[in-house]
Amino acid sequence: MTAAPARPALADLAVGQEVARRPVTVDRARLVRYAGASGDFNPIHWNERVATAVGLPGVIAHGMWTMGAAAAVVADWAGDPGAVVDYQVRFTRPVVVPDPGEVVVDVVATVGALDAEARTVRLDLTVSVDGARVLGRAQAVVRLV
């Protein structure tokens, strides 16, 4: 029997509190894997020649990969991925993924708002590469027990 992981309680949270922080690495193999898993085979996410031909600095990560990787940090904190009831981001800066090499995407989640009546918390996410934000207005609403 799998033990149920601990879930955060609304009463223990305060606006401005940092609740999760995790570096996530991405390389070309990761992008190919995401392309297959998602069905998004746009060559700008795996082909340098195509990416530079359309004016990009190089192969870039799927914005949806970055959004998904940040969601995993929220889901783990929540203790239940199904508790993420609303999740939105703006894609503000491309994540350029070199070959060879990898990029570290830093994800930090902070309490943005609490709603005692709806029993939800809004987490504001800072998602950055080398200190520069790659997502804007990244917010996840999580329902707590």
């Binding site: 898993a37 998602s38 069905g39 998004d40 914005g63 990787a69 991925p81 199904g82 939105q88 894609f91």
Partner: protein, 150 residues
């Protein structure tokens, strides 16, 4: 060809059924680093009250992008994908998606606007289950750069 603003307000009825499988959810979870056991272990999912393994919060994009294709890949819409940048995305989950779900999605073109040559296209997918129950709403905005831009 410019983006055709007259598509704003169009609605496309639900298309083919998308059958959610455990293996697809595992693949998507692994690709995004979603390591919570509820994505891969049916027992862990059931312990949280779900009938089977559940999808990561952004999995609905797989269903949504298939649905959006009927509009964004329509040559009449005038959306040149080599000039497209994803601007924003939002998921509202009415309930988690789980393995075994048979989903259908209706597409709405909520807005097509132009500003300084840049076209912004906002679509909304309403994903429902076999019984017509609301599962997820996915709103996505694409920015299409003008043809003369570098």
């Amino acid at each position: 060809m410019p983006v055709d603003t007259s598509f704003a307000g169009r609605a496309y009825p639900p298309g083919d059924v998308y059958v959610v499988s455990r293996e697809k959810l595992r693949e998507f979870a692994e690709a995004t680093g979603a390591t919570h056991p509820a994505h891969t272990d049916p027992q862990a999912a059931r312990a949280l009250g779900y009938p089977d393994v559940i999808a990561p919060p952004t999995f609905a994009v797989v269903v949504a992008q298939r649905t959006e294709a009927q509009y964004v890949q329509d040559p009449a819409a005038g959306i040149d994908f080599s000039r497209v940048v994803h601007a924003d995305e939002r998921f509202t989950h009415h309930r988690p998606i789980h393995a075994g779900d048979r989903l259908r999605a209706a597409l709405h073109v909520d807005a097509v606007t132009q500003r300084a040559g840049l076209s912004m296209v906002t679509t909304r997918c309403e994903i429902v289950d076999e019984d017509g129950g609301a599962v997820a709403t996915v709103v996505s905005t694409l920015a299409v750069r003008p043809e003369d831009a570098a």
